[in-house]
Symmetry: C2
Subunit: 453 residues, 2 copies
């Protein structure tokens, strides 16, 4: 007996030999040349040579590459297959039925990785290139821990030591992610720590300093510079990170072709931007060529409204002013993000290419409060059976709203997004939501300095 065709249509698999073997780099296809990163010392474009001390050489080359496709090394493909990849594309037909919408909703299953999110797509590549060039140790920072646990896992796979500076308040309140990293053999330090000059200056004043992502970045960078065999890794924002994540959208595009469907709406949550860009850019390339008119919608928290209330200008990537200046939508690099549960969306800026596309009108953005976001997540859990990450729940909220609009208009839009993480390490947030203890937060003070007129 054969599985009926109608059943098969709702879960689209790819075979291992259909996995994309190159990443897609959007830089050559952007509607305007990307603005260079500036050295805050002389306000001139950063010399790539200076970046080699911080990042693996191949990653620096990819960061500025204008090649449209970058070959994925066999060792990285091998690790991808074992995540496992390709991930399925699933039609959320139970959610559609519950909403009584004529719209179709599809999601890509990136939550299936051992780390529980899409982050290993770039962590594996970064660990691999570092191993290849003889790096002995990688250092990074992490907030809630999705990125840190992905890099810890990837470091174990490629035999690298790994140190993670974890924002102290998360280190104390969310031990699960710390334990994951330690199980993978990584060293996890609460930040600010006594391990760096910058950290000590803060710990001396306040031994229980809560820390912030900006402080942790500064510590990770300072740590990296102390040792020749150490390199720094970043989990989002940078172009090479977005390029690695394109594996998600490239697979999804093949899967949509297999069922002869093309999305009308692509939505995604944005923290640094790599999740949304990874899914969206392989489709965006068609829009940039004038072939399609897909509606790209970036979803962010109202408490951290980088692209809906921020300024499009040059700003630092970290609070400690150690990174180059980057042109992006920003809330100011000292923005005090409210304590929302979507730890991955609490960053003050966003990826430069994503900001350029929003600024030029190729994408738009929306912002939500966390209670309405968790309400959407609850609806998803009770229809599709999946408990999603609070970050991902932002685009689930948009997809549901759009599907309900279609119910009014009768439009049969195809809505697609990346289910970029599960929520099994965020259950306290669900508990707070179910018990009406979740607070909605307005943005704090937005203060963006002017570095470039």
């Amino acid at each position: 007996m054969k599985v009926s065709e109608s059943v098969k249509e709702h879960t689209v698999f790819l075979n291992p030999d259909e996995i994309p073997t190159s990443w897609y780099n959007i830089l050559p296809d952007l509607p305007a040349p990307p603005d260079p990163y500036l050295d805050p010392g002389d306000m001139k474009p950063v010399n790539p040579q200076k970046m080699l001390r911080l990042f693996a050489q191949e990653l620096v080359m990819q960061e500025i590459s204008t090649e449209r496709y970058i070959k994925i090394p066999d060792e990285v493909l091998d690790a991808y297959l074992r995540l496992p990849r390709p991930t399925p594309l699933v039609r959320a037909k139970r959610l559609e039925a519950f909403l009584k919408t004529p719209a179709q909703i599809y999601y890509k299953c990136e939550y299936l990785s051992p780390a529980g999110s899409h982050k290993p797509n770039t962590a594996i590549a970064q660990a691999y290139y570092n191993m290849k060039q003889g790096t002995e140790r990688v250092v990074t920072e992490t907030g809630a821990g999705q990125w840190g646990s992905s890099l810890a896992m990837s470091s174990a796979l490629f035999g690298l030591k790994c140190r993670v500076y974890m924002v102290r308040i998360s280190y104390k309140q969310k031990p699960g992610r710390r334990v994951m990293m330690e199980t993978y053999g990584a060293e996890v330090l609460p930040s600010p720590s006594n391990n760096t000059k910058f950290g000590r200056s803060l710990v001396e004043k306040d031994p229980e300093h809560h820390g912030s992502l900006g402080i942790a970045i500064t510590e990770a960078v300072e740590d990296t510079l102390t040792d020749e065999k150490t390199r720094y890794c970043l989990g989002s924002v940078l172009n090479h990170v977005l390029t690695h994540q394109s594996i998600v959208g490239l697979e999804a595009k093949k899967q949509f072709e297999m069922i002869d469907v093309y999305p009308d709406v692509i939505c995604g949550c944005i923290g640094g931007g790599s999740n949304f860009a990874g899914f969206a850019y392989p489709f965006m390339t068609d829009k940039l060529k004038g072939k399609t008119n897909t509606d790209f919608v970036a979803c962010e928290p109202r408490a951290v409204p980088s692209t809906t209330k921020g300024i499009y200008t040059y700003d630092f990537g970290d609070s400690g002013e150690m990174t180059p200046l980057v042109r992006m939508y920003t809330l100011g690099h000292k923005y005090a993000a409210p304590p929302i549960h979507s730890g991955g969306l609490r960053y003050h800026g966003k990826a430069p290419s994503l900001c350029l596309l929003i600024n030029k009108g190729y994408m738009r953005s929306v912002a939500y409060h966390q209670n309405e976001v968790f309400e959407a997540a609850k609806t998803l859990a009770q229809t599709e059976g999946l408990i999603t990450a609070p970050e991902t729940a932002h685009n689930v909220k948009y997809a549901i709203d759009e599907a309900l609009r279609c119910k009014q208009t009768g439009e049969k839009k195809v809505i697609a997004f990346n289910m970029c993480g599960h929520g099994l390490l965020d259950l306290q947030a669900y508990d707070d939501f179910l018990n009406h203890k979740l607070q909605d937060w307005e943005p704090t003070e937005i203060n963006v300095p002017t570095y470039v007129k």
Copy 2:
């Protein structure tokens, strides 16, 4: 460019239209007729009619069916595909390399479901058949919560109300699983509760009674009998549960055929026995026909050594003596299981067919302490990138030991097991292990009454 053949071999996918469309029922192939369940009132075989008040009719029919293959309904297949199924079969080649073994180690990825384990394979089927016959509400018990969260999820998918009696000590110490169930819309009560006569009798004496699986079963059964539109569901032990889990082994068998490999050793952890049976029985059928001589190894905790130190006799399935008598290896139905972290392996008995196969010499069993089990889990995490459930870590330990024996002998054995759950809701246990706070437990008093000479 094509993905290299060597890479493809290490992750074996099945397409959606290759999913098995029937379950395998081992009853007609057993080396001896299965011993009937006995009614403790008259010590005669239980009349199936009496079971209909407790279980959905189709499940009772499957429980006693002698059909070798049972068709999987389309609605169940549809839900399976969206878990997603088929799940990949992965060769643990990084673990092999680390062990420097000539053996090959393969695992099946059942941890990928939204509930994090293999349990939805039967929870979906049980919820479906109950929905079909008009059941409005299902009731069950849960210890650590793997089963309860799977039934809660499946109940949401098929529009059933769900109530779960959760052992109070777990309810308090492991809120994550409770929150999962509540997010799916289920009602979770700490057991013993004030909701049943049996529960009240215990709570009156001790309001903070820790509870046990046996007590929770008794409460769930009592609750079921209060309402005509309610049915009880069980997550392991019974034959229909093992039959549903055969989807795992049937898929794995196809996948091994695709790469022209047949396992020499199949190991699995046993709590009630459905995980191991589900993976092993489709291969066991070949051994029963004399075609193969695969070594089947059941792995259990030394603290709960049902098959290594228990008695093969008739005993109750629950502590409250409400179930029929079942012939199995048992530690006695009032066994006080030590507080090991493998909550799913703390049951006093095991599935009758599994016990029969062990008793007849077709399977054998081994027992481990939890520290050695977690050491194996750490090795797995740092080589394969996967943090497994403490239960699953028992067979990971066996696989590693067997692979190391092969290193000594030079044998190229193929070792296979089911990676039946991830450990992301068990990170406290990993933390305790990494910090040397984990205690190894000897069995408590084994006291097996004699009901049948």
